[in-house]
Subunit: 325 residues, 2 copies
């Protein structure tokens, strides 16, 4: 299981390859929130999201003869791009199973990064697991799960190591650390890193309204599933339930979840544009939304929010900006 | 006059205050350009542009009793915000003379950062120098010029120190370094830093069509002025002529200027959005435009382009994005 040694080993494999993303801030955001806010800008990671960390961590750890046969992933987009790029840099083939209603930009990018994309009909009920299993067996591929995979979790944990070090440089050791939470890979990875490196920081998973499986699971003490539709505004983080590996970590280390509305998420995207000059996708903006608009649920004087991804279609981003004008 | 010692002293004063901005890249940009491109993301500097560096450098160097009386600046926006924020952090008053047709966002931000903004009618022919001189004398303010000021130049040079160090970490010592060029503060500052720290890099100033005073001045060997209108798409860099301090530095150290079209600048803004997840304003995107679309004028295998500012109104940015959809 993933521990701090595995996270530090993943960080060592990422050194010189992954990007140490900056911790950004603006007095304008502090004013909205009424406290100090820092944003860990994972949108600036390679392929535009933290997912490159976990993908590189997993692929770089494979035995060369296994890796050479290629890797397989299921993803609505960000894990897909992370895997595609990490495979491309290792010069091994990647096959990615994506829902055909994933954002066009994510599908196009995944292909452009050299992966073979196999689309399936999520809404129409096609089973991606059957499609994937056939390909895996036929080609001898190694499946790299998006979050329930210890090496992926270790890679995402490298983001937590950076948060601890960057905050310490600013003299900050206590903070609420808000994470955009789908299956819990980033959340659990950061929580494990902070447990070792910044034990006075508390991770708080953030989810969009209608997809609050982690929040309900943490409150009830057992894994709960989303019952609504599978698709929505925050496409990157609409996982149906917390992972079997990630949930016990979150249960042990995280505070209560926070749920934000779509309107708050859109506003957070606009504030990130205006005040931080970064492009954040819907699923990557929920933590900042919680930092800005849910201060009543936070305990500490400093908030650190992950901006976990920036892969948003231009038309949608323009639409979000136009609303605020 | 500004030299490497002054630049290093400015960098020391900025340490822990200014942000070390990342050097970003994307395989998609490399593909367009047909060579490796790195983008120095000064949009992520405090106040959304490199101008904070020079402002902090100048204000932090003032004698405390002089500084306490306050500072004065003329600016269409980015220098204004840099001065306002640096003065606010020093807890001294800032008075900023801005053209009333400057972008609304820049005027609003300058006020919100605690400065007193005095608007003048640039198009109607009001003389900002008379307005400023009256205020300076009446209030005992210290004028901080946007580029023809050795301490400001030293602050902008800190960006060049970072470029040299970050490129060296990537194993890069030779590159064309493209700068977005108005009065030449960033260009000359970076050139001075690279002369000392990365002498195999060559700075190439980039300007928008119709405002190519630096390019023509470098070609002719004497200061040439723009003859067209004072306002335009790339508002941040429409200075009428190179500075008296900056021009000799550029003449000694820079290669030929490069001129880009508005269409290329808009495309560069879209590519920065899509591929780097950063928000770049028109005047901050000309260097990337040259890197992407003027490779025939470049000599080296690696291009480093400054993305010098990101203070663009949401409506304009949405318009630029919509065009590319």
């Amino acid at each position: 299981m993933t521990d701090i040694a595995m996270i530090e080993a993943a960080a060592a494999r990422l050194k010189g390859v992954g990007r140490v993303t900056p911790l950004l801030s603006s007095p304008f955001l502090d004013e909205i929130a009424g406290r100090r806010i820092f944003v860990k800008a994972e949108v600036l990671q390679h392929t535009g999201s933290f997912k490159f960390r976990g993908a590189w961590s997993a692929i770089s750890a494979l035995a060369p003869e296994i890796r050479a046969k290629g890797v397989l992933a299921f993803s609505s987009g960000n894990h897909a791009q992370g895997i595609a790029r990490a495979a491309q840099l290792h010069d091994v083939p990647a096959t990615i199973i994506m829902p055909k209603d994933a954002p066009a930009l994510k599908i196009a990018n995944t292909r452009a990064l050299g992966a073979e994309v196999v689309l399936y009909d999520r809404v129409g009920g096609e089973d991606r697991n059957i499609i994937g299993e056939e390909l895996r067996l036929a080609r001898g591929l190694t499946l790299i799960k998006p979050f329930d995979e210890p090496l992926v979790l270790a890679g995402q944990g490298s983001c937590g190591l950076e948060i601890a070090a960057q905050a310490a440089e600013l003299g900050i050791t206590q903070a609420d650390v808000l994470t955009c939470c789908g299956g819990g890979g980033l959340t659990a990875g950061i929580a494990l890193a902070l447990e070792a490196k910044a034990p006075d920081m508390k991770v708080r998973p953030v989810e969009p309204e209608g997809f609050d499986d982690v929040t309900r699971s943490l409150a009830s003490g057992g894994i709960m599933r989303n019952n609504g539709p599978e698709a929505g505004f925050c496409d990157a983080i609409l996982t149906p339930a917390p992972g079997e590996i990630t949930f016990p970590v979150m249960q042990r280390l995280c505070g209560a979840g926070i749920v934000v509305t779509e309107a708050q998420t859109r506003q957070a995207m606009r504030e990130a544009f205006l005040r931080l000059k970064i492009v954040v996708e819907p699923g990557g903006a929920v933590a900042l939304a919680a930092a800005l608009f849910h201060g009543d649920k936070l305990d500490q004087e400093v908030t650190i929010a992950t901006a976990s991804g920036g892969n948003v279609d231009a038309a949608l981003f323009a639409d979000v900006l136009a609303e605020g004008a």
